[in-house]
C-alpha cells in the first residue's frame, strides 16, 4: 500500500538547513493499522505529509496505492488525494461555514466519484457510523471537540479511500473521547482500510497492528 525508498526532507530555515526526514525506507501493507510514534519535532507529521502528497521529498521515492506520487503535479496530486487518502487533523479543521453533513459531502463534491443525489445520504450514513448522526445539520462551532473529530473522521471516509492518515487525532481530546476515537480507527482497519496515525502518545499499543518509532527524522530499528 505504502512504499518509501530513501526519502529525505530538508527545510531551509533562517538558522540553516534542517533535516526533517533522513533516508526513510518504509513499507506498509494494505489493511494495516500503523502507529507512528515519536516526540514533538521528531518528523512524524512530515512523514505523514509525504505519504499524503501534502509535502514533497527533497530526494527519494514515494509510492502509495500504486501511484508514484512524488512525481505528480499539484492539481493531479489533489485529485489523487481526494480519491485515495482520507486525512484527519489534530485540530479537526472543519470548514466553519458548512454543517457537519456538508463538511462530509465536500470531498465527494471535489472528487465526483459518487453521484450527486447519493452524496448527502452517504454523508449521513458516515456520520451515523461515527456516532454523530443527530448532529448532521449543525455547524462545527456548536459541536464539542470529540464530536468535531468524529465529523472529521467521517469526512476522511467520504470517498471510501483505501488509506486514512491521522496526524495527532487525539491530541486535542480528553482521554475518554480519545479512546473512542481510536476505536473508530480500529474499526476502520478491521474493515480493510489502511490506517496510519502519527501520535506522541504511547498508549495506542492496544489498538494498532504495527508501531513505527521515529526520532530526529529517522526510523528507529
Amino acid at each position: 500500500m505504502i512504499s518509501l525508498h530513501d526519502v529525505t526532507k530538508t527545510y531551509e530555515t533562517p538558522a540553516g538547513k534542517f533535516a526533517a526526514l533522513r533516508s526513510i525506507d518504509l513499507e506498509i501493507q494494505p489493511g494495516q493499522f500503523v502507529g507512528v510514534v515519536g516526540k514533538s519535532g521528531s518528523g512524524k507529521s512530515t512523514l505523514l505529509n509525504m505519504v499524503a502528497g501534502i509535502d514533497r521529498p527533497s530526494s527519494g521515492m514515494i509510492a502509495v496505492a500504486g501511484t508514484t506520487i512524488h512525481q505528480l503535479p499539484e492539481n493531479k496530486l489533489a485529485a489523487w488525494r481526494g480519491r485515495n487518502v482520507g486525512f484527519v487533523f489534530q485540530f479537526f479543521q472543519l470548514l466553519p461555514t458548512l454543517t457537519a453533513a456538508e463538511n462530509v459531502t465536500m470531498p465527494m463534491d471535489f472528487s465526483k466519484t459518487i453521484p450527486f443525489r447519493e452524496r448527502r445520504k452517504r454523508a449521513l450514513a458516515l456520520l451515523e457510523r461515527v456516532g454523530v448522526g443527530p448532529h448532521a445539520d449543525k455547524l462545527p462551532a456548536t459541536l464539542s471537540g470529540g464530536e468535531q473529530q468524529r465529523v472529521a473522521i467521517a469526512r476522511a471516509l467520504a470517498n471510501d479511500p483505501p488509506l486514512v492518515l491521522a496526524d495527532e487525532p487525539t491530541g486535542n481530546l480528553d482521554s475518554v473521547t480519545a479512546t473512542a476515537i481510536l476505536d473508530l480507527f480500529r474499526d476502520m482497519a478491521n474493515r480493510g482500510t489502511t490506517v496510519v496515525i502519527a501520535t506522541h502518545e504511547a498508549d495506542i499499543a492496544r489498538v494498532i497492528d504495527r508501531r513505527i518509532e521515529i526520532a530526529d527524522g529517522a526510523i528507529r530499528p
Binding site: I54, D55, T97, E102, M106, R155
Partner: protein
C-alpha cells in the same frame, strides 16, 4: 447545490456587513455607469427623434432675395421635395431696462410651415401684427413673460414696441440660455413695422430622397444653386447640417460617452475594494484552503469557490444598481433635456444597455478577484496548513517600518495608530489611491474653475482693448462692454456643466472611497482582533481602542489628501489645458485654488473618521475573552 457553492455563500453571509459594504461600493460604480450609459442611449435617440419630427431642412441657402417664381422653379426639380422662404435678422430686445441680443425669424406662412417646423407652446399662434413669439428657452434670457411689452430694434430698423403673445419651441436652435440670446418669431407685417424691407433671403430646402445622404444633398443643392444663379440671384452662403442629426447630438453624445468613461473609472475604483476584500478573505482562509486541498480539492475547484463569491458580488451589485441607474438616468435626462431644450417622449432604455451594464458589472469583480484568488490558492498545502492567521512578520522587516519606529517621543496610542496604518501596505496603497482620486477630481474642479475664470478675464480684457482702441464716445464703449458682458455670460454658462460634472464625480468617487476605507478598516480590525484583546487585557479602555482605530483611518485620509494635493497641480493643469485648447484654441492661465486644499482636508478627515467609526465601535465592544480567543 454543491457544498462548494454553499461555502461561497455562507462565507459571505458570515461577513455580511463587509459584503454589503463591498456590494454597495460596486453598485455605486455600476449605477454611475448605468445612469450615464442609459442617458446616452435615451438622449441621443430622443434628441434626434425630436429634431426629425420638425422635418429639418436638408440645406439652408442664403441669397439676396426670394420671390414666389423662384420657389416654384426650384420645386420643379423632382429631387427637391420642399422649399420654404424665411428671413433671419439680428437685433436687440429690451424688456424693461434689460437689453439682450435678439435673433428674429420671419416666417412666410405660419399656417403652413412644412420644413424646420416650430412647435407652438403657449399663447397666440400665429403672431399678429405688433406681436412677437419667443422661443421657450429664451424667456429666461429675455426676463419677459407672455403679455409683456418689449422693445425691439433690428440692425437697419427703428425701435418699436411689440407684445410678447406666445411661446414656441424651435428644436433645431442652439440653447438660448447657453448662447445668452433671445430668439423671436414675427410675421412679415411686423417686419415692416420694425422698418425692414418685407423680403425673404433664406431658403430652407428639403430633398425628396436619401435625406440622410450628405453627398446626395450636396449634389441636389448644387443643382438648386445653379438654378438660382441662372435666374439672376446671388447665392451668399449655403449651410448643410449633418443629415438627421440635431446640431448638438454629437456634442451631447461625446459628452455623455466621456461621462460613461468616468463611470467606468468609478467601477475600477470599486474593483479595488473587491481586491482588498478578497485578498483579506484569502489570507484569513489560507488554512481552510490547505484543508480543502488536503481532502482532494484542486486549485481550480477551490478558486471556483472564491470566483463564485466575486460572481455573487457582481450579480448583487447589478441587481441593486440597475434600478438606481435608471432613476439616475431619468434625472440626468430631465436635466439635460431642459439644458438642451428638447422634450423626451420615452425614457425606454434599450436592451443593449441592460446587457452591457450586466456584463461590465459582473465582469468587474471577477477581474478584480483574479489576482488575489490566483495567488491565494497557490499556497502549497503544507504551508497553508501551518498558517497561523495574521503573520507576525508583516511589520518591521523593511527599512520604512524601522524608520517609523523612530517616532518614539509621541504618545504610544498615536504611534500605534500610525504604524498600524502601514501594516498592510498593498491594501493601504489601494485604499489611499481611491480616496486620492476623489480628492483629485474635487481639487481639479475648483482649480479648473478658477483657471477658466482667470483665462476668460484675460481673454475678454484683451478683446475689450482691441474693440475699444479706436472708440472715443462713452456710449460706443458702453455698447462694447454690454456685448462683451453678454458673451462672457454665455462662456460661463457653457462651463457650468463641466464644474458640476467634476464635483458630482468627486462626490461619487468619495462615496466609493469612503466605503473602501470602511472595508479596509473593518478588515484591519478583524485581523488584529487578538492584539486588541491584548491591549484591553493590559488596560486599554473601549474608548481608547475606538479612538486608536479612528485615528488610523484619519492617517489614511491624510495620506490620500497629501497625494491629491501633490498631484492636483499637474493633473488639473493638464485637464484644463486640454479643455481650453479643445474649446477655444487658446492657452489656460492656470490658477491654483488654495481654499480647495483646506476644504478637501476637512472633507478627507471627516470622511475617514466617519468611515472608520463603525468598525472602531464594533471592535471596542468585543470582550477581552472573545478577542483573545480569536484565531
Amino acid at each position: 447545490m454543491s457544498t462548494l457553492w454553499r461555502k461561497a455563500f455562507r462565507d459571505f453571509w458570515r461577513e455580511r456587513a463587509r459584503t454589503v459594504l463591498v456590494v454597495l461600493a460596486i453598485a455605486l460604480g455600476i449605477s454611475a455607469f448605468a445612469a450615464v450609459l442609459s442617458s446616452y442611449a435615451i438622449l441621443t435617440r430622443e434628441l434626434d427623434s425630436d429634431y426629425l419630427a420638425t422635418n429639418p431642412a436638408s440645406a439652408v441657402i442664403r441669397l439676396d432675395s426670394i420671390d414666389d417664381d423662384l420657389v416654384k422653379a426650384i420645386l420643379q426639380n423632382p429631387e427637391v421635395s420642399d422649399a420654404e422662404p424665411r428671413r433671419t435678422i439680428r437685433g436687440q430686445i429690451w424688456s424693461g431696462q434689460l437689453q439682450r441680443n435678439l435673433v428674429l425669424f420671419v416666417v412666410h406662412d405660419y399656417g403652413n410651415i412644412r420644413v424646420s417646423k416650430l412647435l407652438p407652446q403657449q399663447g397666440a399662434w400665429p403672431p399678429s401684427l405688433g406681436e412677437i413669439l419667443i422661443e421657450r428657452d429664451a424667456f429666461q434670457v429675455a426676463k419677459a413673460k407672455i403679455g409683456d411689452a418689449v422693445t425691439v430694434k433690428t440692425a437697419n430698423g427703428v425701435a418699436q414696441p411689440l407684445v410678447v403673445s406666445g411661446s414656441v419651441h424651435d428644436v433645431g436652435q442652439a440653447q438660448a440660455r447657453m448662447e445668452n440670446i433671445v430668439y423671436g418669431y414675427i410675421n412679415v407685417a411686423t417686419l415692416v413695422q420694425l422698418g425692414e424691407e418685407p423680403k425673404f433671403d433664406e431658403l430652407n430646402i428639403l430633398v425628396a430622397q436619401n435625406r440622410f445622404d450628405e453627398s446626395h444633398i450636396r449634389r441636389v443643392v448644387s443643382d438648386v444653386e445653379a438654378l438660382i444663379e441662372t435666374r439672376g440671384h446671388e447665392v451668399r452662403r449655403i449651410d448643410i447640417p449633418q443629415p438627421g442629426k440635431h446640431p448638438h447630438s454629437d456634442l451631447t453624445g461625446s459628452l455623455l460617452l466621456s461621462m460613461s468613461s468616468f463611470g467606468l473609472f468609478v467601477l475600477v475604483l470599486s474593483g479595488i475594494i473587491v481586491i482588498n476584500l478578497l485578498t483579506a478573505m484569502m489570507a484569513a482562509q489560507v488554512r481552510q484552503i490547505g484543508v480543502m486541498k488536503a481532502i482532494g480539492g484542486t486549485r481550480r475547484q477551490i478558486a471556483g469557490i472564491y470566483f463564485g463569491q466575486a460572481l455573487f458580488l457582481g450579480i448583487a451589485a447589478v441587481v441593486i444598481s440597475l434600478p438606481l441607474g435608471i432613476i439616475g438616468s431619468r434625472a440626468l435626462c430631465r436635466y439635460m433635456a431642459v439644458f438642451l431644450n428638447f422634450d423626451i417622449n420615452s425614457f425606454a432604455v434599450p436592451l443593449w444597455v441592460y446587457l452591457l451594464v450586466a456584463l461590465v458589472g459582473i465582469a468587474a469583480p471577477l477581474i478584480a478577484a483574479a489576482y488575489p484568488v490566483w495567488r491565494g490558492t497557490a499556497t502549497p498545502v503544507r504551508v497553508a496548513l501551518s498558517n497561523f492567521g495574521v503573520g507576525q512578520t508583516t511589520f518591521g522587516a523593511s527599512r520604512f517600518d524601522r524608520a517609523l519606529t523612530r517616532m518614539g517621543s509621541w504618545s504610544s496610542s498615536a504611534v500605534f495608530s500610525i504604524r498600524n496604518s502601514f501594516r498592510r501596505r498593498a491594501r493601504l496603497v489601494l485604499t489611499v489611491l481611491t480616496l486620492a482620486a476623489a480628492g483629485l477630481f474635487f481639487l481639479s474642479a475648483l482649480n479648473i474653475r478658477a483657471s477658466l475664470i482667470h483665462t476668460f478675464d484675460r481673454m475678454f480684457a484683451a478683446k475689450r482693448v482691441e474693440l475699444t482702441r479706436s472708440l472715443t464716445k462713452p456710449e460706443e464703449i458702453e455698447k462694447v462692454d454690454k456685448s462683451l458682458t453678454n458673451s462672457r455670460f454665455a462662456y460661463d454658462q457653457h462651463m457650468i456643466m463641466i464644474y458640476v460634472f467634476l464635483i458630482v464625480m468627486s462626490v461619487i468617487i468619495g462615496g466609493v472611497g469612503g466605503l473602501g476605507l470602511m472595508t479596509t478598516m473593518s478588515l484591519n480590525v478583524l485581523e488584529r482582533r487578538r492584539e486588541m484583546g491584548v491591549m484591553r487585557a493590559i488596560g486599554a479602555t473601549p474608548k481608547t481602542i475606538l479612538l486608536m482605530i479612528v485615528a488610523e483611518g484619519v492617517v489614511i485620509g491624510l495620506l490620500s489628501w497629501t497625494i491629491a494635493a501633490v498631484l492636483a497641480w499637474p493633473v488639473s493643469k493638464a485637464l484644463g489645458d486640454q479643455l481650453v485648447r479643445a474649446m477655444f484654441r487658446s492657452g489656460l492661465d492656470f490658477t491654483f485654488e488654495p481654499l480647495g486644499l483646506l476644504i478637501w482636508m476637512v472633507v478627507s478627515i471627516s470622511l475617514s473618521a466617519a468611515a472608520s467609526f463603525l468598525p472602531a465601535w464594533k471592535a471596542s465592544r468585543v470582550t477581552v475573552r472573545e478577542a483573545l480567543a480569536y484565531e
